[in-house]
């Protein structure tokens, strides 16, 4: 278990809210706000481009029941 101090370090990004589980999201460059979300990478990339956010950070948010142990 990690200490809250480690988790809350100001330079650590925030977790994606669970309502985006399984979706692709686009964060603003500071990773403080989700500016777009969609089912596919192409959709969210196009949405960020349309919003003039060339430096958006994309993330495919893990599904809640997803644990990675070397599976693609």
């Amino acid at each position: 278990m990690h200490s809250q101090k480690i988790i809350d370090h100001p330079r650590r990004p925030k977790p994606a809210p669970i309502e985006y589980a399984g979706q692709w999201v686009a964060w603003n460059p500071e990773r403080t706000e989700i500016i777009a979300h969609a089912r596919t990478f192409a959709e969210v990339h196009n949405a960020a481009t349309a919003a003039s956010q060339p430096n958006a950070i994309f993330q495919r948010v893990r599904r809640l029941n997803e644990t990675i142990v070397g599976r693609l």
Binding site: I7, R11, R12, W24, F41, H45, Q59, R62, T67, L72
Partner: protein, 156 residues
């Protein structure tokens, strides 16, 4: 370069309760022939190769060719047929930034909600000394002499 592990909300495999886990996922710029994007990617010391979704190759204009060798084998024996392509990768920030060309593999995931970006040894970890600090949850990457570094002006 230090990268703070990325927090992820998941369900505990034991109890089913929501838990917060921290994983070495770092922002990676992927540069294709027509577009670029920054995406979170998992640094995975257990992966022989770096593997990205085919959907990203399509969106960024990366030409792919089929491999002639055997498929990749994932944990549990899952067989993965992959494609190959050349891509420019970049990590860091304005203060310290590294860009290189890599020959990586692409996998057509069955569904977009299964897609992942994996940074394995070939194309990534071979070029860095990596320290995974499990106490502070920070990944430190130091480039080594094998990194085929490019200048940022070498491409878009």
């Amino acid at each position: 370069m230090n990268f703070f592990y990325c927090p992820i909300i998941t369900l505990s495999a034991q109890t089913g309760d929501p838990v917060l886990i921290l994983r070495p996922e770092i922002p990676l710029r992927l540069i294709g022939t027509s577009r670029s994007a920054v995406s979170q990617a998992l640094v995975d010391t257990g992966a022989d190769y770096s593997i990205f979704p085919v959907a990203i190759a399509r969106q960024l204009g990366i030409a792919l060719v089929a491999g002639n060798g055997p498929p990749m084998t994932a944990f549990g024996g899952q067989q993965l047929a992959t494609w190959f392509g050349d891509i420019i990768l970049e990590i860091g920030s304005d203060a310290e930034c590294y860009r290189w060309q890599a020959h990586v593999q692409f996998f057509e995931f069955p569904s977009p909600d299964e897609e992942s970006l994996i940074l394995g040894h070939s194309g990534f970890l071979d070029y860095f000394t990596a320290v995974f600090d499990g106490e502070q949850e920070i990944l430190t990457l130091t480039p080594n002499g094998d990194l085929p570094a490019m200048k940022s002006s070498d491409s878009s």
